[in-house]
């Protein structure tokens, strides 16, 4: 059941556009806390609320019109200098944007949102009167009383009253002043309305001055709202230039197809002279280029700037920091970096977690920072850059850093690893322990970063996106989480290798180089085959062994591969070549170490290997090539 019959399309547009707008407003509000008198910021925020109100009016979303009308008025007064912003009132304004977001959530489910909680409206009205308002939860019981008063009061100026424009205009031109007062009288009820609400609010508020410590209840609401909105987004906005490119290329492909159809008729009719074959060759080469271009163009239509994700976080960091009594600034860079839309959505949860983690666990309290000789304000930087065919996202904090020994100790205490394993880990490997399921460095799970999601989920989510996550940390200086992601999941460049007479595809991103395996170079180090490549001792792992198969021949080639943790040489029988493939997930079955399947040029099925899980699932002994095998061969 929809309450927006015939307007669903418009509603969708409105939600997409206004959600972005609201995120901008949220960010500007965070900025405003630093520069409360910045006219441009005040103007932009005013316009944001104004625009949302305008759209909501057409969609008859009374609750939103009523709420935005207040915030808009407030910022109108602020930008005109009629009011000055006291920082205490920021919480009220922030709660209001959180409420607007909640309403977006309701609208996205095609429901009319209920009016904003009366205590928020009342607090806003107080702020409008130039007073300091508190979002005291005590105000909540007033809801049934105040809400009905609020809604009709503000609905009036936005909707019904309208001056007799023509009359006024004519009169102005004729210099006859009479009708002007008539117009002036119409908007008059506006200021009258808040007075009523204000009376209500004052009556229920116990201590309006205790505003520095915001009540937790309204605080958490906006966060819930954010996630609600982030989840369902079924439309995408595409630059028309990109769309035209797709259209253009598909047209070109159509033309090439026509050419091929003609050539096929010729060949079927027995016309096989060199001219025809050369034309066929040309047409196919052209098709090859065009399809590649089309794939790129289609991929580009799905690319969205990561800023759309990033812009939600400064507010998140700010709210969390205030709750924890910390002073944290979230600095964003590289927002224009583009990423596939689906990945962008799946990246939200891990990034939210990492940002929260940095604010909660990463940076110290103000007192601790000052004691350590650092600036009181902590800086968390969230950056995105494109490095080759990868996107690098980094979350860096200037906090206390992570201590490998503490992490090792915790992991042992929680029974995640044994002492022996712990002792064999170097510093970097120790940091990786935080990604183990069940690991949490705090004895008591904080209600803030906890939320039942651990770092292990962050890592799993990143790995689902074919990405990897690394940690760098220096005690006392801070930590950096680096996430590396492919540009898209749609097309994967692979290297196709053969083993036991069957082709397998491995992601090209992990391949560093290909070397011939010469038995003379194979050395045994503690019972395992290794090859020294440019002074680096690398273990040799047989693909057949990893798959649990018997080798049918001695591997001739080694693929030097690099995963997040280590490098190794994958021994294979031969190569087919490199290819750009589209991975199809396997239905119902999920064999270990297989990411999916694809079709090769000759129409046969090729399994695409998931090296990380393949390595994890097989024991070192099964896959490490026994040196003896090479030695026998050489002899």
């Amino acid at each position: 059941m929809s309450e927006f019959g015939g307007m669903e399309d418009l509603l969708q547009d409105f939600l997409t556009e206004s959600s972005e707008l609201l995120s901008e407003v949220d960010n500007k509000l965070v900025e405003l806390e630093k520069r409360p008198n910045d006219k441009n910021l005040l103007n932009d925020i005013f316009r944001g609320f104004h625009t949302i109100k305008g759209g909501a009016g057409f969609l008859n979303v009374e609750a939103m019109v009523s709420l935005c009308h207040r915030t808009e008025n407030l910022f109108d007064k602020l930008r005109n200098g009629e009011l000055t912003l006291s920082l205490e009132n920021m919480d009220v304004i922030m709660a209001a944007t959180g409420e607007v977001r909640e309403m977006f959530g309701a609208l996205s489910q095609k429901r009319q949102p209920p009016p904003a909680p009366a205590h928020i409206l009342a607090a806003l009205d107080l702020v409008l009167q130039g007073e300091i308002a508190a979002l005291a939860p005590v105000a909540a019981p007033a809801a049934p009383v105040a809400a009905p008063v609020a809604a009709p009061a503000t609905a009036a100026p936005a909707g019904g009253s309208e001056p007799d424009w023509q009359n006024l205009y004519d009169n102005l031109l004729d210099k006859a002043p009479t009708p002007v007062p008539a117009v002036a009288a119409e908007p008059a009820p506006v200021p009258a309305a808040p007075a009523v609400i204000e009376g209500e609010a004052r009556a229920v508020m116990v201590e309006p001055m205790q505003s520095l410590k915001p009540a937790p209840a309204p605080k958490t609401q906006p966060q819930g709202g954010m996630q609600q909105v982030a989840a369902p987004e079924t439309t995408i906005r595409i630059d028309t230039v990109r769309l035209d490119q797709v259209l253009n290329l598909s047209g070109e492909i159509g033309l090439t197809k026509n050419r091929l159809t003609t050539l096929r008729s010729d060949i079927m009719a027995g016309k096989m002279d060199t001219g025809t074959l050369k034309a066929l060759d040309e047409a196919i080469s052209q098709l090859d280029l065009l399809v590649g271009d089309l794939q790129n163009a289609v991929m580009k239509t799905r690319m969205q700037p990561i800023g759309r994700l990033f812009q939600k976080y400064p507010r998140l960091a700010r709210d969390l920091a205030r709750q924890l009594g910390k002073d944290v600034e979230l600095v964003l860079t590289g927002e224009e970096t583009e990423l596939d839309k689906t990945m962008l959505e799946d990246l939200n949860d891990p990034l939210v977690h990492l940002v929260r983690n940095a604010v909660d666990h990463g940076v110290e309290t103000i007192e601790e920072r000052i004691a350590a000789g650092k600036s009181a304000k902590a800086v968390v930087e969230l950056s995105a850059t494109q490095v080759g065919d990868h996107i690098l996202i980094e979350i860096t904090d200037d906090g206390r850093g992570m201590r490998p020994d503490v992490i090792r100790k915790k992991a042992i205490e929680k029974g995640l690893i044994d002492v022996e394993t712990a002792n064999s880990l170097d510093e970097k490997q120790s940091l990786q322990l935080i990604f183990l399921p069940g690991f949490s460095t705090k004895d008591q799970i904080s209600s803030i970063s906890g939320r039942g999601v651990g770092m292990d989920v962050v890592k799993t989510n990143i790995m689902k996106l074919n990405g990897r996550i690394d940690i760098n940390s220096a005690v006392g200086e801070g930590s950096r989480f680096s996430i590396s992601l492919p540009l898209t999941l749609a097309i994967l460049p692979v290297l196709v290798v053969r083993v036991c007479d069957q082709p397998f595809a491995v992601p090209l991103a992990m391949v560093r180089e290909i070397i011939p395996i010469d038995a003379k170079q194979v050395q045994e180090v503690s019972g395992r085959a290794t090859i020294v490549v440019r002074d680096e001792i690398l273990p040799v792992k047989s693909l057949a062994g990893l798959l649990g198969w018997q080798e049918t021949q001695v591997p001739h080639f080694g693929v030097l591969m690099q995963t997040a943790e280590h490098s190794f040489i994958l021994a294979v029988d031969s190569f087919v070549g490199r290819d750009d493939v589209v991975i199809k997930p396997l239905q119902n079955i999920r064999p270990n170490g297989v990411a999916g399947a694809t079709l090769s040029g000759d129409g046969s099925v090729v399994l695409v290997l998931d090296m990380e899980s393949l390595l994890a699932s097989s024991t070192a002994d099964a896959s490490s090539l026994k040196t003896s095998r090479f030695i026998t061969h050489a002899a």
């Binding site: 547009d13 556009e17 625009t51 305008g54 309208e162 205009y169 002036a184 908007p187």
Partner: protein
């Protein structure tokens, strides 16, 4: 009566709003509608195209609706263009400002196709005087 082929330029920074106005105009039989996202873009388009009617929002970045209106009235080529101002405010001072700047009409958001029709008809009637 106005020509249904009359060329409109709808100016608003909010694309949803442009779409709403475009839909309403279509309901009234005007389908020759172009869009611009702020006053600057609009002015550029107006100078390079044969537009016959401007519907503009007031509050926009870069160049507001009222600035656009003044620029239109100051341009020898464009000054005769009918300009309908769209705003969310029914404030007296805004209306006076629009009128003195030479707006042909003023409509308050949200409005229906009927309201828009009425406003347009008044403007057309004035134009034919």
């Amino acid at each position: 009566m106005a020509d249904s082929n009359m060329r409109f330029l709808v100016v608003d920074d909010f694309s949803t709003m442009r779409r709403i106005v475009r839909n309403l105009l279509k309901e009234l039989g005007f389908s020759n509608v172009e869009e611009a996202e702020d006053g600057q873009v609009a002015l550029h388009k107006l100078k390079n195209g044969n537009y016959e009617f401007v519907v503009t929002d007031w509050n926009m970045p870069n160049m507001t609706g009222i600035e656009l209106l003044r620029a239109i009235r100051a341009d020898a080529q464009l000054k005769h263009l009918p300009v309908l101002m769209v705003t969310a405010e029914a404030k007296k001072e805004n209306i006076i400002e629009a009128a003195t700047a030479g707006a042909s009409g003023y409509v308050v958001k949200p409005f229906t196709a009927a309201t828009l029709d009425e406003k347009l008809k008044k403007i057309f009637a004035n134009m034919n005087k």
